[in-house]
Amino acid sequence: MDTVYHSVGLDKSKCLGCMNCIKRCPTQAIRVRRGKATIITERCIDCGECIRICPHHAKSAQSDPLSVINDYKYKIALPAPSLYGQFNNLTDVNYVLTALLQIGFDHVFEVARGAEIISDATRKILKQGNVRKPLISCACPAVTRLITISYPELIDNILELNTPMDESARLARLEAMERTGLKAEDIGVFFITPCPAKITAIKNPLCLERSEVNGAIAISEVYPLLVQKMDKLKDIETLSESGRIGVSWAKSGGEASASLCEKYIAADGIENVIKILEEIEDEKLNDIEFIELNACTGGCVGGCLTVANTFVAKTRLNTLRKYRPVSCNHIEGDEVPKELNWEYPLEPMSVLKLADNVTDSMKLMNQVSQMVKNFPGLDCGTCGAPTCRALAEDIVRGYASIDHCIFRLKDEIQSSTDNDVDNLLPVPFRGIDEEKLKWT
């Protein structure tokens, strides 16, 4: 069960065992046990919602330290386009790219370039027309993982292309080998990441044998270093080779509008993504051609490893893209090169089912329904599960027991004393209808 790698991790010393993250998690992947949050690894999609909500900063993404680049002879930075939105009064992305060279990289390759190639490939695929519509973007790894665990029916709707990050890494390495004569393994390619989902996509890719990216460094780690360098820059090198389309991928709607199809949807924020996935599943969006989904509000600029306010960053991107060419990176010819395609099909991971076969699942579901009737239905979270139903499901799966519910505990105490123990409960829970709480 723990073989799945996740970049979202917990600092136990900071975790107080509060209920914030279990309530926020979109896949109900967190339980509090013995005063600490624990992640059910097969359900986690690395969306970073728990990192955002944790008031104690106990949750964090396990990104690589910048020092990791020193393991390679030749070091390439792959800045996510969202990096450009982090800086106040930036007029030219070449400042950022030049500063990246000054903090230790030998070369930069903008992920905006890979994004433009993926946009071109998307347009070609939409034009060819032999795909299941609506076509769903493959760019947000948290969304892709969510589909594999909760919406397996929609796997065939996903665009079977590498992410801009992986495509950029592939091209960056090839270019560098040609330029330097170095061997592939001497070249380190590092993504400057806005989010934990991308880190997981590197360490544990879903559709590739191995990611071309050697490591992921958080935007929040390089940001202060870059600002220091950018203040003192004298000679700005012209390094940028991307256009409006690539830069716009940093925010919600950028990728979808670059698809150039008439009917598209761009939804951002994990709860909105879920609503759209439900609608696609119910075939309510069959007239839509392309759907861009970003787990983070605002798109990648809303990633939990970014520094700037999401909406401020979006405005800055609008200014930055203004005088750029539309797109600088294209695919020759009408065919999408096979290197851009996934190496493996996406496999469904059915974590929702209660048991291995339908009959056993039915037995368990009847037990769950019975239990839920007897629970107070407050979804208070004091059992460590986000809802009463989640607790009931945990119980039938053997991961919890009925006495995890504090109302059950109260009844047990009551049964051994003549005094009214209602006052032992926290104020909001006193005087709960005793008739409802009949334990069986």
Partner: protein
């Protein structure tokens, strides 16, 4: 044989909750581990029928009877009834009022879609009394 029964109430004219029952049923079918094609067929058919209840019939009740072999859903309302079932089954035929169509509903695909996505469908309707739709999707 093992059986799971689920019950949902549908409120009249409440478009904010329309689709809630079919959504919950879909979630339960995922918990039960039915294959995704079966789940999709049930979800689409029940959603259409649920919306019909909201638009035409002052709400109603939905009961699902699930066995490992078959998912049966009975949708019962006390609405006006369907005067001409054959006409109602025609694609594009709709009696939905203009304000409902303005919301994007009432395209006249409800009953045809229910038929398309289910293995069996039965409409039992009495004018002025109500309509009961029974649909079945087999677990293949």
């Amino acid at each position: 044989m093992e059986e799971v029964r689920l019950h949902y109430d549908v409120n009249a004219y409440d478009f904010t909750c329309a689709g809630e029952a079919s959504g919950k049923l879909k979630r339960s079918l995922k918990n039960l581990g039915f294959n995704s094609a079966v789940i999709r067929n049930v979800a689409i058919a029940v959603y259409e029928a649920e919306i019909n209840m909201v638009i035409h019939a002052e709400g109603g009740v939905i009961d699902a009877i699930i066995t490992p072999d078959c998912i049966t859903v009975i949708l019962a309302d006390h609405g006006p009834g369907i005067p001409d079932i054959e006409l109602a089954m025609k694609e594009g035929y709709s009696t939905a009022p203009e304000n409902v169509r303005a919301l994007g509903f009432g395209a006249g695909m409800g009953l045809p879609n229910i038929k398309k996505y289910t293995d069996e469908m039965n409409i039992d309707t009495v004018i002025g009394v109500g309509t009961t739709i029974t649909l079945k999707v087999y677990n293949k």
